[in-house]
Homo-oligomer: 480 residues x 2
Amino acid sequence: MEQERVSKEITPRSQDFSQWYLDLVLKAEMADYGPVKGCMIIRPYGYAVWEHMQADMDRRIKETGHVNAYFPLFIPKSYLEKEKEHVEGFSPECAWVTIGGGEELEEPIATSEAIICSMYAKWVRSWRDLPILINQWANIVRWEKVTRPFLRTTEFLWQEGHTLHATAEEAQEETLKMLHVYREFSEEVLAMPVVWGPKSESEKFAGAHKTYAIEALMSDGKALQAGTSHNLGQHFSTAYEIEYLDKNQERARPWSTSWGTSTRMIGGLIMTHGDDTGLILPPRVAPYQVVIVPIPPRKGDWSEAVLPKSREVMASLRATGVRVHLDDRDNQQPGFKYADWEMRGVPLRLELGPKDIEKDQCVLVRRDTREKIFVPLTEMPAKVRELLDAIQSGLLQRARKFLADNTTEVASWEQFKAVMAEKRGFLVAGWCGDAGCEAKIKEETKATIRVQPLDREPVAGSCVRCGQPSPAQVYFAQAY
Amino acid sequence: MEQERVSKEITPRSQDFSQWYLDLVLKAEMADYGPVKGCMIIRPYGYAVWEHMQADMDRRIKETGHVNAYFPLFIPKSYLEKEKEHVEGFSPECAWVTIGGGEELEEPIATSEAIICSMYAKWVRSWRDLPILINQWANIVRWEKVTRPFLRTTEFLWQEGHTLHATAEEAQEETLKMLHVYREFSEEVLAMPVVWGPKSESEKFAGAHKTYAIEALMSDGKALQAGTSHNLGQHFSTAYEIEYLDKNQERARPWSTSWGTSTRMIGGLIMTHGDDTGLILPPRVAPYQVVIVPIPPRKGDWSEAVLPKSREVMASLRATGVRVHLDDRDNQQPGFKYADWEMRGVPLRLELGPKDIEKDQCVLVRRDTREKIFVPLTEMPAKVRELLDAIQSGLLQRARKFLADNTTEVASWEQFKAVMAEKRGFLVAGWCGDAGCEAKIKEETKATIRVQPLDREPVAGSCVRCGQPSPAQVYFAQAY
């Protein structure tokens, strides 16, 4: 009965997707609203997911030759002084930090580019100083009108890479390298398949020569931009007057890139895998990969046999490197605990009762398939490892199938509108390359061009909207 | 000659300590000034030190039962709206983030307490929700009039723990537990010995029941507060109306603590170990523990034998978990490289030339003692490990000796003034407990009470300034 009580609190996904998402975020204690609109607290359970993501992403960023640094929040003193004149009685110890924001979540804000490029202008003197391959992990503030935890908040956490190169070719290579780091991370760690490629002119980052993105498909059929990589050409090195002496002792301008991913990916994770019972977390980022629920005996005390054995099991699992938690709350029934951890998306539940102990076994229950497996305790650690791997790859497969099932090659404008009205997803269609035509499609169907795919051969044809020649198909979708 | 060229750039410590410090910070590329006064960029070399510190501190914080979370920067919307009225033409996408600062670097600012306590008031309902043991890694902004990289900057990085407990005893236990975590971290990781204990009333954090600190002694004889731990009593839980139902179903107020350490510790590290040649980094936080400098043959190409062998040596060291860097710059002489890495404080230099390769040996040079050791290549990895351990403990011993040599038990006010005028350091002296007396001592000698020591038995006597009875001696020093 307890189990039902918890499940019922989650709004069914089919009934109200947006409320379902918020229920998962709040009830699984991934995040909470702050006292100020649009501000989010990342609670310990959600932050642990971020820590696992961050550790893995950081390793990938370093393995591709980058180093971390920290650039300050930018404080225009003139604003501060202006402020002091206006706000009477405002303590002089207080600082106003002003940060410019934009409408697009994944865009590096002007202040990052301003502070970082102005430092690069100071640091780079000779061709020997290139390439500059710096990343930073930071918080960032944007003024957003409509906010949703993880997806669009006034403040979020991210990593942003900013690189300088001697040639245009190197900058382009770097841009694509990081796009693929993001793609692999998304698939291998988050089990979140993506399509990837360049953005159209109207969707690219202002000032970029070319913007590339990875785009994932959420279970409501909308696309989520989960990471961007910009080839900035010489735009910013010109604006911030970055110059160096090349091998011929001549003055030259470097080529730059920037790329970023954020806590927004956690929102993608939730909307890719979650179901009506709650979160489903891929083992690689789950704070707890296994939760042990001890079943008390009908009569007698659980601390005599069940609890000591559970602790033993926990220790043996922990020794193999598995992140395991023992739910020894004595004021809750097993049924309540099952539902609680299902809601929090723990990949595997391990049940252990007096009868199991008699038989020297335990019960493992998969969160993704709900499959129940009886395992001798001696084989348990190996089985847990095997099941965690199976869940990780199973989630990716399931999401890949969903993405494939919801990717429609559309041949006509009528079909385009029908698919957008019905199930959405990715629509593969021809496009003439005209921004006006792109704008009309968005106006009439909410679909925008997500990427020009790099994962499939270009097929020439005609524009789905106007019928003019199309050099290649693009991916359309309604975006978060 | 190259060597001299680099060394000469560093101002001798005895000549101008403050300039010596800045030379080390800037020339070793630990940090750089930002375009706005008081803003610091932590450059990759400095940030790598911070990453090693952070990883170790984070492990200690988690091992003592804490979890990480992330609380937002606080944005009072009323200020924002007020601002919009005043600043004409200011884009509505821009957000003003206002953060209150204080004079004392180690004090948690009001906004942290405000946002965190207001969330705790929402989360805590029952005695089963206690204790709350949350830490966060964050950036923080303070408006400071006089700034110095790492020691006092407009923005810095830190960790801040905020805990809630059911009893006053538990809160006190937590306060001391974290003080000792800081103490052990400082000694074991930074090789920076400290004295520790409670602050006097006038030096404690406003609103705290009791503030404890660790204080290190810099090589100019001034003390650096390197970490604080506050027992906040019920002050903040009362102010933010945090309440819960205790085991008897009665409403109760929890007891809270907060504690923090910051990038300021990097400044302490530099001023504890550095010398006129540059930084000296303890192996546990050194970005590179060993740098290999290949010596080219007098005639012929170094890429034939020296460079391949150096790469081999690097691989064999890296396989044992040592952080090693091969300096294969082909436009610099070995002498220049020696000086460069000495300046950057790399604990061990490994020299490898044609003659060494003939003899199947290499030369290891310690940064701390400059001792030169010839080692057969087969024994090299074991010797490197042994020397790194020896350098780590040697630095701590040296710093402990310095602290002991510069701790003076003073019996008279004349002696107090003489020691402060001459060599400073820690002055152990009686104090009557009166804040007015404390203020006079500061006014006349710049010395403040750093801590009431917990590392030595209290010795009763008389106040060094006024002669009134003193219940115990305290540590005085001029503070950073």
